[in-house]
Amino acid sequence: MQAQLLSKIKPIIDLQQDQLSYYMILSSQSSIETRLPQDVLFQDGVLMFQNKKPLTFYMIYAGDEDLHIDIHFQAYCQVNLIEIRVLSSNCTLHKTMKLDEGATVHAFSENLSESAKSLEDVYLQAYANCQYGYSELSDDAFEGRYHFYLDGPEANAKVRTAILSKNQENKHYEILIQHNQPMTYGQMDNYGVVKDKGRLVIDGIGTITKGQHGSSAHQTNKIMMFDESCYACANPYLYIDDYDVQASHAAAVGKMDEEHLYYLQSRGLTKKQAMQLITYGYLMPVVEVIDNDMIKKHFEQSLSKVGA
């Protein structure tokens, strides 16, 4: 395994030290390194989870070419999934996840990529439950398209995204939760901070198709800009085609409060330190609403490195 890759992912997992973790490193379609437990299989490009006991699994996407992966969680399996994306410039990750009936996946995904793309589709069957935390603090442009399809009754998806765009980075994220069955629940909270001529567009899309009564679609999109040289756009879209549903959205783009900066500086923090703390504080509410300890812990660790 490349030393450079190991050093990049070391803050999240030290594979040389940690001999007990299960993982897959996908470097290209022909270069795949795994340590799998007995009830997780990899066959014909599909990673299949059949575990009956809860399992923690690391997925590392480290390609310098386009990557394709299908992940399948069989009925009622429970997985804590920690993903690290270290995609090289101009690479695209194509990922499909399927959650069978009653499967539960808590996922945290950290983005350490160069200028790349991530196209992800997650399909949830009845009673499946998926919580996803995306930490998008990478030091380059990025395009993320994260789509969640609630294809079974009472399927449940909660998505939290914390994004930092800086140094003229151009970042665009499209997060969709589509309700294709009744009594489904979708919630997304997308928070961004933009500074130093960064650009960020967040499109949050909630779709409830006809006949999906009793469904709930909620979303919050918030972006804070540090100065006027930045560009930010938070677009909430709700497409509702049924009457008996609950839906809400909130979107805000605002400038950093200069009084906050003054207050922190008046205690001796330099402008840079104060801005780091404000960025961290702005993104923290994303973590606060997470009710899974694993995602929460990884998110907190990830955000504490903001601007460091």
């Binding site: 003054y262 207050y263 922190l264 008046s266 205690r267 923090l269 961290y280 504080g281």
Partner: protein
């Protein structure tokens, strides 16, 4: 001994001149009380010393042991030993009090404070100030009562150990017991290494923290300086007597709003 010196200070907010040639000199070991009617420049003075960007200094100078304070950024002033206990402390979500306090302490040190020493110091001061034990884990001033915010300002002052503290109506929002605790904390800081400028409207505060010098600030200037007897005079007589010195008093009190539709205008 350190000296904070303000000479012929003129300050504007927008187009309006608030301070009009103010002079003040304070040494460590001294506590200066500044009193005056609302809207005459007391808070402007303290905020200008700290470097709030809203205030523009058009003339004059501020020096700390001969160093040009006006040439320093806000954080440089803080690291040089100035501290402003604010009248309306900011609420900053997402940043815990302990993260903030640790960052502030480390900003003044070459080596970061050890976690153990930080927690011990923080816990000791929280206890002395009679504050909520969970305060360290709460977001900075968010959801704090008025009194808790003021105690939090004093907590920061105690942890940062400034050479000069500028306390802007630190007694407002405090009940009698909290006032006594805060006054005790300020008194515990008094030494030859510490000076303080306090703005307050109330004799009670100055009874508990006895100033060495008292100044009356009217129309952007210090019109009279003296000792504790000035506090007593103001407490008994208000500021009407200042008019005899040839100064008009502009009270900038908040006026009640009379709504056309439901007020009793003209009655």
């Amino acid at each position: 001994m350190s000296t904070l010196k303000i000479e012929n200070l003129h300050v504007e907010v927008g187009e309006k001149e608030i301070l009009k040639g103010l002079n003040l000199e304070i040494n460590t070991g001294e506590v200066h009380a500044i009193m005056g009617p609302n809207g005459n420049g007391k808070s402007t003075l303290l905020s200008t010393i700290m470097g709030h960007p809203k205030y523009t200094v058009t003339q004059g100078k501020i020096t700390l042991d001969g160093q040009d304070v006006l040439a320093m950024s806000v954080d440089e002033r803080a690291r040089a030993g100035l501290f402003l206990g604010m009248q309306y402390p900011q609420e900053i979500p997402g940043i815990t009090n302990s993260d903030f306090l640790r960052a502030a302490i480390n900003a003044k040190r070459d080596e970061p404070i050890s976690l153990f020493k930080f927690i011990r110091t923080l816990d000791k001061n929280i206890e002395e100030l009679g504050m909520d034990e969970n305060l360290a884990h709460r977001y900075l001033n968010e959801g704090f009562s008025g009194g808790e915010k003021k105690r939090n300002e004093i907590l920061q002052m105690k942890l940062l150990q400034p050479r000069f503290a500028l306390l802007d109506e630190i007694d407002s929002g405090l009940d009698v017991d909290a006032l006594r605790v805060v006054a005790g904390a300020i008194n515990s800081m008094r030494s030859d290494e510490f000076g303080c400028i306090m703005v307050s409207h109330y004799e009670r505060m100055f009874e508990l923290v006895k100033p060495t010098h008292v100044h009356v600030l009217v129309q952007g200037q210090i019109v009279m300086s003296g000792g504790y007897e000035l506090v007593e005079k103001i407490d008994q007589e208000g500021y009407e007597w200042v008019k005899e010195l040839g100064y008009d008093i502009e009270q900038n009190e908040r006026q009640p709003i009379i709504l056309e539709a439901c007020g009793k205008k003209g009655q």
